[in-house]
């Protein structure tokens, strides 16, 4: 995944993460989502059927 270099030295701490740190942050989120996401995605999505409401 391409990330632009942060050039401004005065950006606040949160924005001055290196590209590698940003990537690992995203990876960590995806790992967490992996651990809670329904295992059988196709069945899960197929079985979600609703009656119309307002």
């Amino acid at each position: 995944m391409e990330r632009e270099e942060i050039e401004d030295a005065d950006t606040p701490a949160a924005a001055s993460s290196t590209p590698a740190e940003l990537d690992s942050d995203v990876d960590a989120i995806l790992d967490e989502i992996d651990s809670v996401l329904e295992a059988n995605a196709e069945d899960f999505v197929k079985s979600f059927v609703q009656k119309g409401g307002q």
Partner: protein, 510 residues
């Protein structure tokens, strides 16, 4: 000019029983509501007062008391009528095939957010209670608006307006706002078309289900502007604007800006401040779909006068008019929340124009899309992948440990605007500045003595009285803690309360 006005949110939740796809949704929804009802009231259950004609002024209605009523009149056996009036002044009930939570009446967007989040806590507790009864397999609830197979259900906003504002003005000035606010308020949806047949991401869950500009319907031929006229208040003074276009939001920022920006636009309309900004669209319904379908945010809507503007540019015109009206009315003296809504709306519109994905920690559609793009990049998935569909659906799972929006929040990746402590209080406590205070406090203090309640009445069953007593609460801004707090605190029982209400000159009506 401010974001303050009486408002509320009512949300129909998606419902499923994993492993039991043919389970009747109305029955499951009733399990949810009745499980909660029994937990909070040990079986006694006040009914919703459906009587449409509220008696005027000092009326005390004459009805049979419960003890003498025919059993068929006591409708707590009918699952379709499952209903709980909450101590926070809100309502938990079954709306056909969905459990629904309505916030109490609040006066500002932050409180709307707070009591809306409280509703999710109520629903979560109801899920756990229903599972514990053993009468049903586990039930799951989703705060979303479609099954991506053709069905849609709503998250409705309600705003109290002055009756004197011509409805034609509301239609004229609000329609372009609703068509374009999706860039801020959309919850995101993987699937285009009512049945989601096209595997593409769009900004709004609801957009594709809107087919006409103005109308009374809510379940088919849905209109951008709904004409339902049921103010639950004095119809000569008030209009309750019933808004059905919105998505159910999980992100605090999305909900806060949805309510806040809409409140500002309504204030502009009431002030007649938009007459020089005719933003009428040539084809509102088509543009509603087009704005939602374009994630680049570059689509230009075509106005009736031929101008072509992006949705962000349209929103900015409304924002600028709001600033202008504030300046005319001494902005510096403005309350903090009005300033905050203006500034957040401004900042979000700027970010949407410059780098929309920078809002992944604040807006639902961006957060959802960012998750999906993360998976696409990491695993090389196509947009048609069922795993991405699962992300869309599970984003709105209301369980904190499984819902994806909740996981993002707990990891600090989705901004919170109200604290868990405040939300916990809002589960049981009503707002202090509307009639919800009177309703909620009566439910808390005298649960066994409330035969029925509605937005505009509380009906008491007083020991020793042959008849039920209806106390009208027609005025949304009366029955506040300031008005009735002492009266309630000083009433050891419901008989004392009724006596003191009867004695007070205008204690119970508008």
């Amino acid at each position: 000019m401010s974001v303050h006005r009486v408002m509320g949110l009512e949300t129909e939740f998606g419902i499923s029983v994993p492993g039991h796809p043919t389970m009747n949704a109305m029955v499951s929804s009733s399990h949810i509501v009745t499980a909660y009802a029994h937990a909070v009231s040990d079986g006694a259950n006040a009914h919703w007062d459906y009587e449409l004609e509220s008696p005027l002024r000092d009326a005390r209605g004459y009805d049979q008391s419960r003890a003498e009523a025919d059993p068929s009149q006591l409708t707590d056996e009918d699952p379709g009528m499952a209903n709980v009036i909450l101590t926070n002044g809100g309502r938990l009930y079954v709306d056909h095939a969905h459990p629904e939570y309505s916030t109490p009446e609040v006066t500002n967007p932050r409180d709307a957010l707070l009591w809306d989040r409280a509703g999710m806590s109520v629903m979560r507790r109801a899920m756990d209670l229903a599972a514990a009864t053993g009468a049903t397999p586990p039930i799951l609830l989703y705060k979303n608006n479609t099954d991506n197979k053709g069905a849609s259900y709503g998250c409705h906003e309600n705003y109290l307006m002055r009756r004197s504002t011509p409805f034609a003005d509301i239609v004229r000035y609000l329609t372009p706002f609703f068509v374009t606010r999706q860039v801020v308020t959309g919850s995101g949806r993987l699937g285009v078309g009512q049945d989601g047949r096209t595997a593409a991401f769009q900004l709004s869950q609801r957009a594709d289900f809107f087919e006409v500009e103005v109308g009374l319907e809510t379940t088919l031929k849905r209109p951008i502007i709904n004409t339902r006229d049921e103010p639950h208040a004095d119809p000569e003074r008030y209009r309750r604007l019933h808004v059905i276009v919105g998505d159910a939001n999980l992100s605090d920022t999305s909900t806060y800006l949805k309510m806040g920006s809409t409140a500002l636009v309504l204030a502009l309309i009431e002030a007649g401040a938009l007459v020089d900004s005719d933003l009428m669209l040539a084809r509102p319904v088509a543009e509603m779909h087009a704005v939602s379908h374009d994630c680049t945010l570059r689509h230009r809507v075509t106005l009736a006068d031929g101008r072509r503007l992006t949705a962000i540019e349209m929103q900015r015109i409304y924002l600028e008019q709001a600033y202008r009206l504030c300046e005319q009315q001494a902005y510096a003296a403005f309350d903090a929340q009005t300033k905050d809504v203006l500034e957040q709306w401004d900042r979000v519109l700027t970010s949407l124009a410059d780098d929309p994905m920078s809002l992944a920690t604040e807006l639902d559609w961006v957060a959802k899309k960012a998750l999906m793009e993360g998976y696409i990049t990491r695993d090389g998935l196509p947009w048609s992948s069922p795993r991405l569909q699962a992300i869309d659906l599970q984003y709105s799972d209301i369980r904190r440990e499984r819902g994806l929006a909740a996981r993002l929040e707990d990891r600090g990746r989705l901004v919170r605007l109200v604290s868990d402590a405040e939300v916990a209080a809002a589960v049981t406590d009503p707002p202090e500045d509307t009639r919800a205070y009177f309703r909620g406090e009566c439910m808390r203090r005298f649960p066994d003595a409330i035969a029925a309640a509605s937005w505009d009445s509380v009906v008491f069953d007083v020991p020793g009285h042959d008849s039920l007593l209806r106390v009208p609460t027609l005025e949304p801004l009366r029955g506040t803690r300031a008005h009735v707090g002492d009266l309630l605190a000083g009433s050891p029982d419901v008989a004392a309360l009724i006596q003191r209400l009867g004695g007070a000159p205008s204690g119970s009506d508008g």
